[in-house]
Amino acid sequence: MKPFLEVKNLNVSFPTEDGNVNASQDISFDVALGETLAIVGESGSGKSVSNLAIMGLHNPARTIISGQAILNLETGPVDVITAPAETVRRLRGKAMAMIFQDPMSSLHPYYSIGDQISEAWRLYNEGNKKDGLKKATEMLDLVGIPDAARRVNEYPHQFSGGMRQRVMIAMALVNNPQLLIADEPTTALDVTVQSQILQLLRDMQKEFNMAVILITHDLGVVAEVADRVNVMYAGKIVEQAKVDEIYYRSLQPYTMGLLQSIPRVDQIDGHRLKTIPGQPPSLIGLPAGCSFRARCEFASHVAGDLCATVAPALEEKASKHLTRCHLTSAQLADLNTSDVRGGNN
């Protein structure tokens, strides 16, 4: 069976006076129903931009998008990049839905919670306002909001951050979408509430058999929920593999550096954190070669000036494990194990 979403060579750029900002380049991945794909990267790595393109949420007047993002619907495949805006609008909120980072600004302060959920439901279902509110109450109950029948008539300011995120999830799920894109859904929440929301997302995924794309910068959250992972850097996917491959057998210097630079609550040994020197490059006029080379500690292992002149392609260097690096898989595996915690600076 084909995966539900297939993204092929997706490019998103924003023209500016200083030149094109190449926010996402050459993005290819797929997600199956029931599967969770995590997209991890730092600010400006292009993780949100590529997913907003899939949802058709960029302003076409100010964005250049190319490539494909195919939804394999029961009625047949639809490429949401080239499909007319009206077709994409009819898929949005039905076949695919999105939840955002900030539950404070994603809800309308003037409408009751029930009105906002029922609006989403009535868009695709026959029923009057009363039916809509009944459906909204059901959904609130499902996402674990106590006393749903009363709270459905309340307004966003009467809800806490965690409760608002539950409302956002209820709203996204009201039309049984097959694809849910969650963009940093727990970043604004406290850890105890974060674990409630991640648990809820997992339960809902099982209940509705959804494909879930989770965008996050938190490698702990990724380890907790992901089946597969895309690591992004400077607008490109630099590594793509199953979650265990990424954490235990990474073939990408950037991923290795990231994993070693984060402190862990279960390692109380006072070791010095390893750092990745420097900072991510500007996305305007990226120089030739590998975007990570200036920060890469392994660049010296590559013969000649290959890293500076040729941008590495995303290649399969182990079974279902793709990476962008000029080093061979044997070299990478070797560097990853020899490079023990403790840091080099």
């Binding site: 674990s195 490698l219 380890a223 265990d244 402190p263 010095r272 750092t275």
Partner: protein, 327 residues
């Protein structure tokens, strides 16, 4: 010279909420900090953790007397500063500095880096040896910035670099204590480690003490010698870092730690979480008895009526709970 650079004794900070309008009556009291006792020794890092609204930032700000404490005592370097006026505080301010969370909002966009970092010299009328410019350039170099960038403006720097400017500013007067309020939470993962290491190095070189306020328990664990866990304005548990993280005794500490994701998929699959029900109660109307009783899975009748005292259960490990976890 006392051993502690900072001691708080039963510190409270209450904010009044008002009705607004012409009469502006007092409606209620938010007990943001409600009886906090803690010490910070010279050269030590004390981590202050808790969820949003637990009062950790208010503690940090009250310590520096950016807020006037409601009651209790603040003893800085052996001197009681609780009642000192603004004027009397001024000479002491050079010894206590702050690093802020948001490196975008905490630097004046119209001032150059040189002006920002040297402001404290001007305020305190200090003429550093070799001139202000040289002193600033040395500071910039010390925090890992290019000293030639002294005439640049904040917008020309990235988030991590700006946080370094904030650190240089805090170091200018050679303080004894730095209150760092979420100093790395606005930074990207790869930049966080750079700043954490810088704070570590500076502490070793200069013998600084940090009161490190943060919600990220992984970072706090890494940087702190001791950790204080707060909930709704009160201290729940306080212990040496290793002891607190390996053997938490307070149910809240235990739940908090179990909620922190660990970047290791195998561990995550096996892990059992304590999922707390509900949200933090409002600090305007905190629960009677133990403030944590509404979310605690071990709650009994006594928890709803009697506030547990903060007691030392073993050397340097204090706890406020009627039913602590077994040691």
């Amino acid at each position: 010279m006392s051993e502690n650079v900072l001691s708080l004794e039963n510190l409270t900070k209450h904010f009044e909420t008002t009705t607004g309008g012409v009469f502006n009556k007092v409606k209620g009291v938010v007990k943001a900090v409600d009886g906090v006792t803690l010490d910070v020794a010279r050269g030590e890092t004390v981590g202050l953790v808790g969820e949003s609204g637990c009062g950790k930032t208010t503690v940090g700000r009250t310590v520096l007397k950016l807020y006037e404490p409601t009651s209790g005592k603040i003893i800085f370097d052996g001197q009681d500063i609780t009642k000192l006026s603004r004027h009397e505080m001024k000479p002491l301010r050079s010894q206590m500095q702050m690093i802020f969370q948001d490196p975008f909002a905490s630097l004046n966009p119209r001032h150059t880096v040189g002006t920002i970092v040297s402001a404290s010299y001007d305020i305190h009328g200090i003429k550093p040896e070799g001139g202000t410019k040289k002193a600033v350039q040395e500071l910039l170099e010390r925090v890992g910035l290019n000293p030639e960038h002294i005439n640049r403006f904040p917008h020309e720097f990235s988030g991590g670099q700006r946080q370094r400017i904030g650190i240089a500013r805090a170091l200018a007067l050679k303080p004894k204590l730095i209150v760092a309020d979420e100093p790395v939470s606005a930074l990207d993962v790869s930049i966080q480690a750079q700043v954490v290491n810088l704070l570590d190095d500076l502490q070793q070189e200069l013998g600084l003490a940090y009161l490190f306020v943060a919600h990220d328990l992984s970072v706090v664990q890494h940087i702190s010698d001791r950790v204080v866990v707060m909930y709704l304005g009160k201290v729940m548990e306080m212990a040496d870092t290793a002891e607190l993280f390996l053997k938490p005794r307070h149910p809240y500490t235990k739940a908090l730690l179990s909620a922190v994701p660990i970047p290791d998929p195998e561990i995550e699959r096996k892990r059992e979480r304590i999922i707390l029900r509900g949200d933090l109660p409002s600090p305007v109307n905190p629960p009677a008895g133990c403030v944590f009783n509404t979310r605690c899975w071990k709650v009994q009748d006594i928890c709803r009526t009697t506030v547990p005292a903060l007691v030392e259960i073993s050397p340097k490990h204090t706890l406020a709970c009627h039913f602590p976890e077994p040691a």
